[in-house]
Subunit: 252 residues, 2 copies
């Protein structure tokens, strides 16, 4: 597909709790599927600790390579929430208190609740635009091509919905997949030939191990529906010719 | 804790299927918890597509910074399994067919099944040492400080068990955690003071959103049991003094 049809993204997950194994991340798979459906191709994910320099390094390494960089986590009010300072450092700008963020927090909190610590959440890098969030009023924001979101899945999801309309999208990638009850070693040779015959379709094979047996999921991905259908038809010819037991996947 | 007590790791997850959102990764949280228990601190994770150059770049960026780099995925027999070539490229060595890997596969496969495609799985970067795997006989391996494992969770787990005895370990990190039914904004000020008083204990706070309410998990981590207990006692004093509803976490 032509280059202009491709919109790419990277994701930086900020979270000591993921790296220590305390919490299993839920955001990566949610964001990956969400962006894919929207026509944005997620190309890299990094999980980094809650340290200013490591966050800044990751954002700077990625923001020049991809259309968008999303981050999750580290925008709350506590001492280990250093994402905003890290993003400001990465972009070489200062940190300001955003009046709209303060106004939004005033609707949610009483004057007594609006402590200096809570007001920390209204700090954003200079030049940032707020992203709506109806739950906690701790704002996400966008600055340049970097989109900064909360780490709590439910709140992150609201922010993603809020920011999506303003983003560029490419042609959505269509997928078809088949489950074959044969090990990858049996499937590999005809699959390599299929890939050779359909260079515009990305053909992936993913082994699985279930009930003491190895099998293979075969996934075809393309933005052109006709090219995808043609490769899919050829795949079924291969399956029949080789006598593989196979099942159309129900997940699309 | 003294520098010599710290053994660090990074993880490179190789998988287009994770980035497309088709498959939710299970390996990150498993490996994170496993290494933490073993006294190895996971410091960064990267998820990259099945592309030789991107895998090689990630491994090269990480192997100088951490004690170990683990990889998962891309060592099967199909056309999109390019991890071995990528690792060889990253380390500047050639790829060889490992006679021990071929011998192991001979025990598992008949001569007819031992096709050239299957024998691809016996290819390793020159200088690699095999890591045992009783399930699929597609070997994982270690070369320098890079440990290459399968992507299928059950097989990866067997490989991790096989390689662990040969790895250096630091002092295990101990953790205690408390669930507080108050938003982070209320918890933040005393928590910052607690962190100031206990610099050797890493104090993390993780907001959650449950039944329409925001709450906070507070996690204390340290390698020294006495320092940890002292910070934990102080945390409970804070909880009582502030009248927070709190619950000892059951997960440790």
């Amino acid at each position: 597909m032509p280059q202009s049809d491709i919109v790419t993204a990277a994701l930086v997950v900020i979270g000591e709790e993921i790296l220590s194994g305390r919490t299993a991340d839920e955001n990566i798979s949610y964001i990956a599927a969400y962006l894919t459906r929207a026509g944005i191709t997620l190309r890299e994910v990094r999980v980094v600790p809650d340290l200013e320099e490591e966050i800044a390094d990751a954002v700077n390494a990625l923001r020049g390579r991809f259309t968008y960089v999303f981050t999750t986590g580290g925008i709350g009010p506590t001492h280990d929430d250093v994402t905003t300072d890290a993003i400001a450092k990465a972009l070489g700008v200062g940190v300001v208190v955003d009046p709209d963020a303060v106004a939004a927090m005033r609707k949610h909190f009483s004057e007594a609740e609006l402590t200096p610590v809570r007001l920390r959440m209204a700090r954003v890098p200079e030049g940032a635009t707020l992203v709506g969030n109806a739950i906690s009023r701790a704002p996400g924001y966008r600055i340049g091509n970097v989109i900064v979101m909360a780490g709590v899945p439910r709140i992150m999801q609201v922010m993603l919905d809020a920011v999506l309309p303003s983003l560029d999208k490419g042609r959505p990638i269509l997928t078809r997949s088949v489950r074959v009850d044969a090990p990858e070693g049996d499937v590999a040779p005809p699959l390599a030939a299929l890939q050779g015959a359909h260079p515009d379709v990305q053909i992936g094979s993913y082994p699985f191990f279930e009930q003491q047996r190895l099998g293979t999921y075969i996934v075809l991905r393309a933005s052109d529906p006709e090219g995808l259908q043609s490769a899919y038809d050829s795949l079924w010819t291969i399956i029949v010719e080789n006598g593989f037991a196979a099942l159309r996947s129900e997940d699309e």
